[in-house]
């Protein structure tokens, strides 16, 4: 039962990432792409959690925490650069 659920969820996440990837490639604005990457990293986060559930292990949770902390920083840095043209105040 659980295996089926995780499989479906993973497929859904993969599809979501693929759609985001499409947006990333097409754009048209840089902000679209930025958003796409941010969504992909969120999906990736979810994906890793689901994988942990599927494999009944907690080894991926370290990665999840790191991703949750850092992906956001990268997005903010790029966004700041795009909007204000500076990163460090």
């Amino acid at each position: 039962m659980l295996a089926t659920v995780t499989s479906i969820v993973m497929f859904g996440l993969a599809l979501s990432m693929a759609l985001c990837a499409y947006r990333l490639f097409r754009g048209p604005a840089v902000v679209d792409r930025l958003l796409a990457v941010d969504t992909i990293s969120t999906n990736l986060l979810a994906f890793l959690i689901v994988l942990s559930i599927d494999q009944r292990t907690d080894v991926y949770l370290d990665s999840v925490i790191v991703l949750a902390l850092l992906a956001f920083v990268a997005t903010v840095a790029i966004a700041k650069a795009l909007v204000w043209g500076r990163i460090i105040d």
Binding site: A18, A21, L34, L67, L70, A81
Partner: protein
């Protein structure tokens, strides 16, 4: 006692080393010291070489680098003795001449140091008993003569003349070294005495033609034989004492000496006969022709030297004892009259302020004594009796007669074209007579020229060396048996390796040689008379392109193509560089892998046992891989930076997913950390860089680059795939087994990092620290400049 052979070249060399810091001695002291050392060396040489007079060679060996075959082996026989006397005797006269010739303001320590170095090198060449040692000294003569010719280095002509002579003789030196290596390698020794003893065996070696050909290139470049003769006239930019020394008795005679040294080994081969005789004869004629063409006194002498060297070379080429005798005798005679002539040219230049025939003429009223001296020396060169030059010329004529070549290698030539060599000989003499007349008449007779300064007789000290040499020319002519015969006899005996008893005399009776002399002299006089009207202008037509021009063309062509070639591959574009590196790797690895796996090429027929691949959900795999590829190509294709960076982030994320599939949580962690930090760093870097989009590239290039990149990627993947599908065992089982027990750590990866291969980690930590320092240094430097 024998070890004092070593002292002969070493003594002047030590002095050469000391002189640069002996400027205090002044323009009088320096030549005095040099003269004293040369005299001591001369006495020593005479003392050591005494047995050589009676035909016994003196040898001594000191190990230098025996493992390489190069030893300090010295050999002094009659031939060496002749050259020792010439080098030191003429050397003393040149030092005396230079004492008066060079102004005290010149950089005299440098001059005398180079001169003594050159003298030492020459002494080494003629006393070397080991071919490699000979090459060592030979190259040393090239280097020191370069310094001497370029002594007046502020004059561009001196620079280019020195450069040219070094390059030409340097080429010859390397050819000689190559020839000696081939010869020594094939014969198993570099020792001259040992080689000479095995002449017949060496002549039969298959490597002989190569070795001899290379050695001859060496000898010909040094002795200014056609087609390498052009460096000698260019070297006339040297101070006259240098020309007098280098081009009468020493530098150019080194090549002749080498021919004489190897005569016993090679003279009985056809290659020797045709090459040495042929090039010698050609040189004699080309040199004689050139001496008629030039209007500069020293250049005329330079070409006459070329011509005379050709004569001597030709004689050694003939391969008969009579010819060798004539050659050896002429070495002595040429040294004496040519040194006198060069010094006279220096005196004339010094006194009249010019060496140009257009400005000379009629000097006999101002320089009566010089007129006589130059007349004697020139007459000797032309071969007019009763001077020494006449006697060697007679011997030369005789040696070219077919009757004298009956038993030698040249017999067939003598039989089929009996007139060829005698005609060439007479032709050479004709030219010689003509340029000698031009030299004497053009300088001293006829109307007075517009001299740049008023000429008067030189100081007695400057003239004394010339007087001595002229006296020698006359004395040998009248008393050959007393003065020259013993020396020439031992020298020739040493050359041919058998006892020779020459009878040198002025009168040999009415014979063909005398007839040839008469023809040559009168034809020469006629030639001169015919051209007399234009005696002051440049004379006979030039013989096509001269070798010197060809040299220039070759050098310029070489430099141009070097420039073109270099700018072609050193483009400064990373694209070409990376393309070359990867392309070369693909070709080499592909080629050798193909050959190794091709059956029959020592390769392998059986395919390796296949390992099963790890099972993963296919569908998700395909999506992941395709997205990675897509994102990567987006990176490559986008011209704008931000989308590229974002796409790169996607690649990183998907690789992390892939690692997760493969159950490698620590890799996922590392990948994500590296990925995020890299993205932030790249954003930071881009932020500081000027805003610029990539240039639009031609479509074809993009396609080609893409295809190439794909090829490299596919090849690398194929190799990795092949690796992964073969059975694998590694040392890591030991690591797993010993991790907890031996190193006290549960996580084997950690233990490998900090213990098993902790030394690697030390290195990597250092790399990171250095990078940090480097960044800090750059940032600080950047702050300072802004």
């Amino acid at each position: 006692m024998r070890l004092s052979l070593l002292v002969i070249p070493i003594l002047p060399m030590i002095l050469a080393g000391l002189l640069p810091s002996a400027g205090r001695l002044g323009h009088r002291g320096l030549p005095l010291v040099c003269g004293a050392v040369a005299s001591v060396t001369l006495l020593l040489a005479l003392r050591v070489a005494a047995p050589a007079f009676s035909g016994h060679a003196v040898t001594a060996t000191i190990p230098w680098a025996p493992a390489t075959g190069l030893n300090l082996t010295f050999l002094v026989d009659g031939l060496s003795l002749l050259f020792l006397l010439l080098i030191l005797g003429i050397g003393l006269l040149v030092i005396a001449f230079a004492r008066f010739y060079l102004s005290p303001d010149e950089n005299l320590p440098r001059f005398y140091a180079s001169l003594m170095l050159f003298m030492a090198a020459m002494l080494g060449v003629v006393t070397a008993g080991n071919l490699l040692l000979l090459v060592v000294f030979w190259e040393l003569t090239s280097i020191s003569s370069f310094l001497l010719i370029g002594f007046w280095d502020r004059d561009p002509a001196a620079r280019s003349g020195a450069y040219q002579s070094l390059i030409v003789t340097g080429i010859g030196g390397l050819a000689l070294l190559a020839g000696v290596l081939v010869l020594g390698g094939a014969a198993g020794t570099f020792d001259i005495v040992a080689l000479a003893a095995r002449g017949a065996e060496i002549r039969a070696l298959p490597e002989m033609p190569v070795a001899l050909g290379l050695i001859l290139v060496g000898a010909f470049t040094k002795s200014a034989q056609v087609p390498f003769h052009f460096w000698l006239p260019s070297a006339m930019a040297a101070p006259t004492p240098v020309s007098a020394y280098l081009h009468s008795a020493t530098m150019v005679k080194a090549g002749i000496f080498l021919l004489a040294r190897l005569w016993t080994i090679f003279a009985a081969t056809e290659l020797w006969f045709y090459a040495v005789t042929g090039f010698g004869a050609a040189t004699m004629l080309v040199g004689g022709w050139g001496a008629l063409r030039h209007t500069d006194l020293k250049r005329l002498l330079a070409y006459s030297t070329i011509s005379q060297l050709g004569l001597i070379t030709m004689l050694y080429g003939l391969g008969t004892r009579e010819a060798a005798l004539a050659a050896t005798f002429h070495i002595l005679n040429h040294a004496s009259f040519k040194a006198a002539l060069f010094m006279s040219a220096g005196i004339i230049d010094h006194e009249a302020g010019t060496r140009d025939f257009a400005q000379l003429g009629g000097l006999r009223r101002h320089l009566p004594r010089m007129t006589i001296l130059v007349g004697i020396a020139a007459a000797s060169m032309a071969g007019i009796p009763p001077l020494n030059g006449f006697m060697s010329k007679e011997l030369f004529y005789e040696a070219t007669l077919p009757a004298h070549m009956a038993d030698s290698i040249g017999a067939s030539l003598g039989a089929s074209w009996p007139w060829l060599l005698p005609v060439v000989a007479v032709l050479g003499s004709t030219l010689t007579m003509a340029y000698c007349l031009r030299l004497v008449i053009g300088t001293f007779f006829g109307p007075e020229g517009p001299y740049p300064q008023h000429p008067h007789e030189p100081p007695a000290g400057m003239r004394a060396p010339v007087e001595l040499l002229a006296t020698f020319c006359v004395a040998v002519g009248f008393l050959p048996g007393l003065i020259a015969e013993p020396l020439i006899a031992t020298a020739t005996s040493a050359v041919v390796g058998a006892h020779v008893h020459p009878h040198l005399a002025l009168w040999h009776g009415l014979n063909p040689a005398l007839l040839m002399t008469l023809i040559g002299l009168s034809a020469g006089a006629a030639l001169y008379a015919a051209r007399r009207g234009s005696a002051r202008r440049a004379l006979p037509p030039r013989l096509g392109r001269t070798a010197g021009e060809l040299y220039d063309v070759a050098i310029h062509g070489m430099m141009d193509s070097a420039r073109a070639l270099t700018s072609r591959y050193q483009t400064g574009r990373l694209r070409t560089y990376i393309l070359t590196i990867l392309g070369l790797l693909l070709v080499l690895a592909g080629w050798h892998a193909w050959h190794a796996s091709w059956p029959g090429a020592g390769g392998a027929a059986p395919l390796p046992a296949r390992m099963p691949m790890t099972a993963v959900p296919r569908g998700a795999m395909v999506i992941t891989v395709l997205t990675i590829a897509g994102a990567a190509s987006v990176c490559a294709l986008y011209r704008h930076r931000w989308p590229s960076i974002l796409a790169l982030g996607l690649v990183g994320a998907l690789v992390a997913i892939y690692f997760a599939w493969m159950s490698a949580p620590d890799l996922v962690l590392t990948q994500l950390l590296v990925e995020s930090v890299t993205t932030i760093l790249v954003v930071l870097v881009l932020y500081f860089l000027p805003r610029k989009t990539r240039d639009r590239e031609p479509r074809l290039r993009l396609i080609l680059d893409g295809a190439f990149a794909l090829l490299v990627g596919v090849s690398a993947s194929a190799v990795i795939y092949a690796i992964l599908r073969r059975p694998f065992e590694s040392i890591s089982s030991y690591h797993i087994a010993n991790s907890l027990e031996g190193a006290g750590g549960g996580n084997v990866v950690n233990v490998i990092l900090v213990d098993f291969r902790g030394y690697d980690t030390l290195g990597e930590i250092t790399v990171l620290s250095i990078a940090a320092i480097g960044v800090l240094a750059l940032v600080q430097a950047g702050r300072r400049t802004t």
